[in-house]
């Protein structure tokens, strides 16, 4: 899953610049003196905003809304106030009333197109299931219908692309992202659209097309954040799917760090690609940054069996003792979850949990509602980049890729393409590029690691015996250099396979 759209992460200081490019499309008739006063108030507020005197800026814009409520500047003030709620206050829901007013009273103003796009993006972000995207889609379409020549059209197209992607309409999403890029190839969202389009191509099975588009980002905008992201997305795909070098033990990771952890049992990866390790003896998760472990969360969570990270790096721990622990507190374990084996948070904020003893996956929505998907009991679980999950069923002796409706999209028999089969799966990991890594055990294969591609083809594999690993490996994660990190709880160490 690709992170939040750039629009919602704009630095506050850019707001003024964004509003200054208002095109001459306002058709609001106002007395000249009102327009002059409104302009002065708008600029005065902007100056204060640039100086980060937010209160003064907001007061000035509110004064503008009261003293010259029919002006185009009033519409711009509403947009700026709404953006402030999103970017600075981080309360997108508080922006909606402002944008509703903008939409209702100022649809002909210069701020309307951007206001509608922002409203659509907030609605999309607040959606908790695919059908919730309906209003956001309508808003984006409204921008395209009402303002076909406006620069915000590219943002609306990208919004439609994301909505289609989140609804699993890959072809439609590809078309929208491509159109968004074609409409504004120099625009701030162009590389992001190209990145999204590239990922969809991979989902559709066009690896070369995906890599070509990722490379295009690197070539045309080498300094952009998207180019950095494209770099690792290219690298992991080339390593795992094209070069496929034999796995080798590189040694402890970070290099030289041995026996520095307290019984590491679980691994996950942040949106930024940094590993998070849960240390069983400390009952806490730690972010590994620049070789150092930084604690995450506020309190220890004993009995943790599964760990999940949200798109905004929010941490969820699933414990047999304390239930589901989040930043805001804990809730009891949902029914049918007695022996959690895996968890992850999807794009909607829904927590997916698997249980070793009970069939089915349990989905806990952001609003606390639960539902289950009819699947076999899973001994391991990971998010699938296409929107569903990948689970390991020892009973079925297969890895199963299921969509949010519980349909099995892909089944990879244990031992597929291997000379000898394994019997159990200990842990699963995925990356944002469609790869599935499994920590396996038993059978003639024994302990080891296998990596499968999005189509279920075996890409890389090695037994721990062949790698010379003798510890107790409990979890794994795919890194952004085409390597694999594994937890050795016996030796209190992380190891890297390359």
């Amino acid at each position: 899953m690709i992170p939040t759209p750039a629009r919602l992460r704009l630095p506050a200081l850019l707001l003024c610049a964004a509003s200054a490019q208002a095109p001459a499309m306002a058709s609001i008739e106002v007395p000249p003196q009102d327009g002059e006063l409104a302009e002065r108030l708008l600029r005065s507020g902007e100056r204060a905003y640039v100086a980060k005197s937010y209160k003064e800026a907001l007061d000035t814009w509110n004064q503008l809304l009261q003293s010259a409520p029919k002006t185009d500047q009033a519409a711009q003030a509403l947009l700026l106030l709404a953006r402030h709620q999103v970017v600075v206050e981080l309360k997108p829901e508080a922006a909606l009333p402002l944008l509703d007013r903008l939409k209702a009273e100022f649809i002909k103003s210069s701020a309307a197109p951007e206001g509608l796009v922002l409203r659509g993006e907030i609605l999309a972000r607040m959606a908790r299931k695919p059908s919730d995207l309906k209003d956001a889609i309508a808003e984006f379409n409204r921008v395209l219908d009402l303002f076909p020549d406006h620069a915000a059209g590219a943002d609306a197209l990208a919004g439609l692309g994301r909505a289609a992607r989140d609804q699993g309409q890959w072809g439609l999403a590809l078309g929208r992202f491509t159109e968004a890029y074609r409409t504004a190839p120099d625009g701030p969202g162009a590389c992001r659209s190209l990145l999204e389009a590239a990922e969809i191509l991979d989902v559709q099975g066009d690896l070369n097309g995906c890599l070509r588009l990722l490379q295009r980002i690197r070539t045309t905008a080498p300094q952009s954040p998207e180019a950095q992201e494209a770099a690792w997305r290219i690298l992991v795909r080339v390593r795992h799917r094209i070069q496929k070098p034999p796995l080798k033990l590189e040694g402890p990771w970070p290099a030289g760090k041995v026996k520095w952890l307290k019984t590491p049992t679980l691994l996950a990866t942040t949106a930024e690609g940094l590993p998070v390790v849960f240390q069983y003896d400390l009952d806490r998760a730690f972010l590994i940054r620049e070789g150092e472990a930084q604690p995450l969360g506020t309190a220890p969570v004993p009995g943790t069996r599964a760990m999940a990270l949200g798109a905004d790096d929010s941490l969820v721990l699933v414990s047999t003792k304390t239930g589901v622990s989040r930043t805001g507190g804990s809730t009891p374990l949902p029914p049918l979850i007695g022996a959690p084996t895996g968890a992850f948070l999807d794009r909607w904020g829904t927590l997916w949990v698997s249980d070793a003893k009970n069939a089915g996956l349990l989905l806990v929505g952001a609003d606390g509602t639960t539902r289950s998907l009819p699947t076999p009991a899973a001994v391991a679980l990971a998010a699938h980049p296409a929107g569903g999950a990948v689970l390991a069923s020892d009973g079925n002796r297969a890895l199963l890729v299921v969509n949010p409706e519980g349909q099995t999209l892909l089944s990879i028999p244990y031992g597929k393409d291997l000379p000898t089969a394994f019997k159990n799966v200990v842990a699963l990991a995925t990356d944002g590029a469609g790869h599935i890594a499994a920590l396996v055990d038993g059978g003639d294969f024994g302990e080891g690691v296998v990596v499968y591609g999005p189509d279920g083809a075996l890409l890389r594999q090695a037994t721990f015996k062949a790698l010379g690993i003798s510890g107790r490996i409990t979890s794994l994660a795919l890194d952004r250099q085409g390597g694999i990190l594994i937890c050795d709880r016996r030796n209190d160490t992380l190891l890297r396979l390359n």
């Binding site: 072809g171 439609l172 074609r182 409409t183 190839p185 191509l201 070509r212 080498p222």
Partner: protein
Amino acid sequence: MRLHPLRCLPALILVAAPAPEAAAQDPALKDTFLQAKALWSTQGNREEAAGRFEKVIEALAPKAAALPPEWVQVLSESYNWLAVLDDRSPQTRSRARARFEALIALNPDFEVDRGITSSKLSAMYDTLKSEKLASLRLSYAPEGGTLTVDGRPSALLPRKFLPYGTHKLSYAKPGHASFETVVELGPREAKALEFKLTRTSSTLTLFVNPSGAEVLLDGRALGHTKGAAGPESTALAAKANLRPEDLSEGFVVGDLKPGEHTLEIRASCFRPKLLKVGRELTEPMADHLLEPVKLEASKGLLTVQSPWEGGELFLNGQSYGSLPVDKAPVCSGTYDLLVRFPSGGYSSRVEVLEGKPLSLEARPRPRLAFVGLEGTQDFTGRARLLSLLSSLGDKVHSVAYLPSRPGESAKDALARLRAGREAELFLLASPVPDKVIHQVALQISTFEGEEERLVVKPLEADPLGGLIQRLNALPPLSEPSLGISLVDLRGEAPLVLSADPMALKAGVIAGRSLTALNGKPVTGVLAFRQALAETKADKASITQGAAPLPLGITREALEIPLTSSRYVYPFLLSHLRLQLLGARGEEAAQLKLNLALALMHFRKFDKALELLRDTRLAATRGVSQGTLDYYTGVCFLKLGGVYISEAAQAFRAALKAKDATLFGPDGPLVAPLAKAALDELKL
């Protein structure tokens, strides 16, 4: 080059060259003069002779002040002859005095011909002369210099007659210090004056073929050779196998101080000649005559062609006829080359090298006419902005810029340009209405009406900087390719992702790194593309770990961006339209596709479809026929529900193009996009 000591040249009468129009006289007048002399001396026909002399005087006297020396002599002799003829008859005798008075006024130094003039008449002439003029005896050492009297050139004569009063005389000769003096002449006074010059330097006298060459001494321009050498230079000219008239008059290089010098003689269309002047020519100081200097012609061959019709070639403003111009001999040098087309123009500064062919293809550029600044309202920075707009053509090389005409209103200019189709693009400046004008809108529009608006501030540092940058920018329509796709890997050589059949046949292995291009290490895809773009040859070699593989360089088509702040789209449209006029085959089809995209920028989907409908691209990979089909479908969709079936048909065609891409060879495949579009149509 051999040098000769200066021989005694025939005494030259050096006078200032008259104005060309004054010097030009009817040659028949000279005949009239000679006939008059012959009529009397050989036939004794006084009446006929007098009539002819009168005709000569009638023709020359009104412009006596501007006559060259030769004609002053003719006029003077005519007066003399007429005085003699008048004196022969009692009826006309009284007129002789008037003839002499006119003669003295015209040419005080003239000596009457004592052979035909009676002693009585001669005495009258002397008396008349002495009443008005004083006699001054002059001697010159050395001879051959130039004499000026009261600032005007004068003939070198041993005796001069000057009006009474004060006169300033100076005598100068190259290589000598000039002499200047003032004499006071009273009635019936006779004085003598001796000019004796002191030598200060050596001199060189040059005769150059061709005449008109510039002469420089030690890099300092001395002047140009002129005129033609006389018969006295026959022997000299023969040494260079030339006729005297092929040589210039002698050009004297004076002020040649002791030491070594460099003399340069150069002329347009000829190879410059450098002469080393050694010490033997400057020490001791003397006058020297050089052998004739013959400059060798220096020409190149210029070929100018154009696929566009109706072009006319101009070099430095001079017409060289209609295109094509094939291997035309052109003097070597730098030229402002201009080709005028019925639509658009092409201009370039070119250098023609001696003996070298220069070949170029002229592709017309759109003409951008600045129609003016609307309105008369004054505002701060108005003059500055107008000045910048007037000189915009100096900085924009992608268009032929036509400045506004002084005094013509923007409206009139627009009407004139439209009526005469004198430009493809129009630039109109309009102040943005406000209480105080701080912004001016620059509107660029095509003849067909597509327009773009840019607001500038007259007082900003470089109000036109952005416009100039964008007008000079043209998106590439193709890029060099070896038929391989590469991806960057951090810290490693790029990987060959895929290769076309030709590259595979040449031995390229997909999935393997590319380590070198033309023997030089490749660090990344960007560096590879830059190095390939700089490769002049039509082949390049790549290395994938083993022996280098030679690959042919082809060009892959690119799309222009549908919207980009880097370009001025009205200009882009005009440019593509002009390019299309001269394009054929596949190139024309590619141009039509891009022209359609530029029209899509302006949401003129119907116009874009007009172009796309009947265009076929032979290419099947990259930006190709499938791309064109896809955009055809997109345009039909934009026209609304009426054309849904046509849109579906176009997308179905695009669906079959498995290797077609958007944007460029590394863009997304068209087929999945066409499929998505078809799926959406079914919804």
